[in-house]
Each structure stands twice: as C-alpha cells, then as structure tokens.
Symmetry: C2
Subunit: 306 residues, 2 copies
C-alpha cells in the first residue's frame, strides 16, 4: 500500500474505533504493538481525547486488581466507558502470570462499556510495555472516559507510570508498616493518592499514622499533603470514596502538569525512534571485523561510529 | 581542564587502579556513574582485561547472596581477585534494600582480594544500572579475575544480565516447582547453569526432575542440555562444584558468543549516547508553545522534530 492508502486505512480504522467496535480496537492495538505498516499513520490521525489516565500500582498481593474491579464498577454504573491496561511483567520468574490470571477472572471482561487488555513488558524501556503511550492515546481517541493502567510495583514500572498518568494511586496494605521509613522518598515522588487496602487488618490505623508522619517530616516541606483512602476492596468498602478522590484530583490538574506528561510521552517516543535504526546484525558484522584488529576499545568504537 | 589534561588524568587513574588502589577504583566508578568530565577519556583508555563476568540471578529469598559469598570464598582461596556488583532495584516498594543490607554483612567486605559495590537501578534502561557496562569494563581493566553481577530476578534485570555476562547462573529453590511450567521458556533463554539451592528441603529431587523434563520437551530441541548444580549455600555445600562448573562453562565460550556480548554492550552504549542530547526543558518549551495551537498531535510533533 502507498502512503495515501495507509492514511485512508488509518481513518477507516479510527472511525470504526470511535463507533465502539472493540474488535477493530483490539486489532489496532496489535497493529501498533507489532508496528504493522500503517501504524504510524494511525497514530498521526489521532485526535486528543479527554480521558483520564489513572495509574494503579503497589506491591504484589496488595489487592490492586480487586480495587480496579471495584473502580470499573463505580464508573460503569455512572454510564462511563472504562479501559484497563494490565502491564504484565514478563519476568522468567514467578511474577509473570499474576496480573494475567487475575484479569481473566474479572466480571467486567465482556461488559460493553469495558475494554480490558493485558500487555507484556518484555523488551521495554524500563518496566512498561514499549507501546504504552501509543496504546493509551488510541484508547483516548476511542472515547474511553477512564483509562486505568495497572502495574505491579516491583521494578521501574511504578515510577514510569507515575510520569505518564494524570493520577497515580499507590496501593499498600497495613503490613507494609515497617517499610515506610525506607520507601517514603520514592513514594512521595510517585503517589497522588494512597490507598490503604485490607484496612480491617490489625495495625491499619498505626500504619496510616506512620504514612502521614513520613510526610510531616519531609525536609523543606515540598511534598504535597497526602490523600489517603482506606478500603477493603474485596467487600467494595471505600471504593466509592476512592473513585471520588480520583475525580477530584483530576479536576485540579493544571496545564503545567499536562505539559509535563506530554514531555514524558514525547521523551519515550523519541528514544524509541532513535533505537529503531540500530541494527544488531550490522553491529555484529562491524564488531567481528574490528575484533580481528588489536586494541579494540568499545567506547572508541561507539564514539566513532554512532 | 582541556582534553590533553583529561587524557593524562585518565591514564594516571588507570595506573593506580591497575596497581590495586581500591580507593581510586571506587572513586573512578563514581566518576563514571556521575559522568564527571574525564569519564569518557577514562573509558577510551581502557584495555580489555581477561575477566570472567558471571551473572547470578533468581527470585528474592533463593539465597543468591549466600551463594555469592561462597563463590568469592572459593576463588579467593585460589588466589584470585573477585569483584561483586550488586544491582539493587531502586523500587519505592520493599525490594530496595534487600541486596544492600545483605552485602554489608558480607565477611568479604574488607578483604584485599575482594571489591564489593552496590549499584542502584534507578533511571536505567531496563533493570540494570545505567553504567553497568562501563563499570564492569573498568573492573576488567583493574585486573579482577572474576566479576560477579548479582541481580534480583523480579523485572527485566535477569534478562539483561544474561546478555551481558559470559555465564549466567539462575538460582532456584525446590518450592519453585509448580512454576517451572510457566517459566521454562524464559529460563531456558537466560540460564547457562541452574542452581537448586536449599536442596535439603523436601521435593528437591522432584523439582530437579521437572526442571530436566522441561528441557526434554523443548520443541525442536534447540535448548542446550541444562547444567544443574545442587547446593546448600548456608552450609557451603555444592559451592565448590558450582565454581568448577562456571569455570568449565567459561572455557567453552566461543568467539561468536564473545562478539554477541560485545554487540549487546555496544547497543546499550549507543542508546545511552542517543538519549543524552534530549533536553527535557527544551522539550517542555516546544510542547507548551505547540499546545497553544489547535490540533496538537504528539506523533507528528516527534516525527517533525526528531
């Protein structure tokens, strides 16, 4: 296909997506993931939507997925369309299947207002899917009111999603108490809202106290006042309040924050673009040739050739 | 300082490092991490050493650090110099301190033949320290016989280290049995040697059987025969055998594998270099200007500007 055809195809895909055709949406996400010819035209045809992107992160076992289920329920009841992207760490170790399995059980999987997709992290910059920016922009154009990105907080993904999401929710459980001291710096950076889930467990109130005092002792006082929501996700308790707090946070997002998110998104796109033309086979040929001469230095090689 | 001065400084640092001055070595690593002027000259002055780089990875709690302690002991006894780099995931959650704490307890911390350094992952491409290639090359030039890179297998770091290390050791415990099925593809890719640690626990033999049969059923039979070593790291059992198997694997490394490692290293260096000139402040200015016009599309913006 030539360029005009690809643009025409992009517009026709977009129209179907806007009309709510989830089959075409799913296929278009795969186009983007696999960089099928025409995917660039599709992205350049996107008009910005007005979706809220909400990052939900936390350690394994904190109940993120149950909470996401609850939030979806809240917003579906209000007639909203909700998309959920589960970023599945593709570790060869045991974490791989955690999110994937959970999401397949979701009661929302076949609901017409809901779109759920699991994304692998493999080969990504950091801990997110390499096409997370593009996919969430496509969902915006598809008219979803909320886009929830769920990540397991075990690597870098929680830091990255906090740069890309409008609102970042960090889910903790009371047992995390002892760890607050060491993690507070990182947490203050990324969380807009803290959820203390399973808050019927012993030590919940003490944990919240510690969480608050971690912020009180913030040097220079630059950290914002933490928004803390108590939930028991399995019993849907506190979920409505969380949904409200998220909306409130969204309302207060200013133009500078929006620009910051765009900068992060642009940064990821630029890096990806610049990685594209590094051909490992060519690199192999060059390096094998140079290895035969004596005194090979990798740093000189890279400076001279790239 | 001008370029000649920086080159002279690089050579003088390198001389001290070769003479075994660990204070200068430590300082030079910090130079590289912080990109202090002169660090590029230092890297270009490196001559390739003949160290073995050994990646040790596995899930939290599998006993990696105890095993590393044991390996260091084996090689120190043989008069070898050993460097250990602990890649510490800088997650805001609880994994952050795992390696750091462990390594501070090591009996080898102040031994003249041993150099131990903990490296944070933050801001890295994937799960390793952004300067892992440069730092391990400096250690090679410093004359270490073995460079052990220890990573927690919870994100991408285990996949990355397997591309950069001569020999990759994956440490598992018998309890991991049920997970073998789902993880076998990933594990076969990265492991040169499997360690089944805590092999006095129930189910160890069954676990090893499962591990072997995972390879037997490998479609197309492309996977190499797995090297499996049983250890009880806390009692130093099996550690000598592991050290021997690592040496045996090192001996069999061919030129193509060496070139592949160089390609991976070059690839990381090229990406880093290309990321360097992306200035987020300039990006912010440009994006804010463009946001004022209507119909802003991020993908057009990136294509046109980068």
């Amino acid at each position: 296909m030539n360029v005009t055809d690809l643009s025409a195809q992009a517009n026709s895909l977009l129209q179907s997506i806007r009309e709510g055709n989830t089959r075409v949406l799913g296929r278009s996400i795969s186009f983007i993931e696999n960089e099928v010819p025409g995917y660039a035209e599709l992205l350049e045809a996107l008009e910005d939507g007005y979706s809220s992107v909400i990052g939900i992160t936390g350690p394994p076992g904190s109940g993120k997925s149950t909470l996401v289920d609850g939030l979806v329920g809240q917003w579906v009841q209000q007639g909203k369309k909700v998309a959920v992207l589960c970023v599945d760490p593709s570790s060869p170790f045991h974490l791989g299947a955690l999110l994937g399995d959970r999401i397949r059980m979701s009661e929302w999987y076949n609901h017409p207002q809901v779109f759920i997709r699991s994304l692998a992290t493999r080969g990504s910059l950091g801990g997110l899917n390499p096409k997370i920016v593009e996919i969430s922009d496509l969902l915006k154009a598809a008219g979803f009111d909320f886009i929830i990105v769920e990540t397991v907080g075990v690597g870098q993904s929680e830091v990255e999603i906090s740069c890309l999401a409008d609102t970042t929710v960090v889910v903790l459980v009371p047992e995390a108490g002892d760890e607050i001291q060491t993690m507070k710096a990182g947490l203050m950076e990324i969380a807009d809202i803290f959820v203390v889930n399973k808050c019927d467990r012993p030590g919940a109130d003490l944990f919240i106290k510690h969480l608050q005092s971690a912020f009180d002792f913030n040097v220079g006082g630059t950290a914002k006042e933490p928004i803390i929501v108590k939930t028991i996700a399995l019993e849907k308790k506190g979920v409505q309040e969380l949904a409200e707090k998220i909306l409130l946070h969204q309302k207060n997002i200013n133009q500078i924050h929006r620009a910051e998110i765009l900068v992060e998104k642009a940064y990821r796109l630029i890096i990806q673009k610049r990685m594209h033309d590094i051909n490992k086979n060519e690199l192999m040929d060059k390096i094998q040739k140079r290895m035969q001469t004596s005194g090979f230095n990798l740093y000189q090689f890279v400076r001279q050739n790239f």
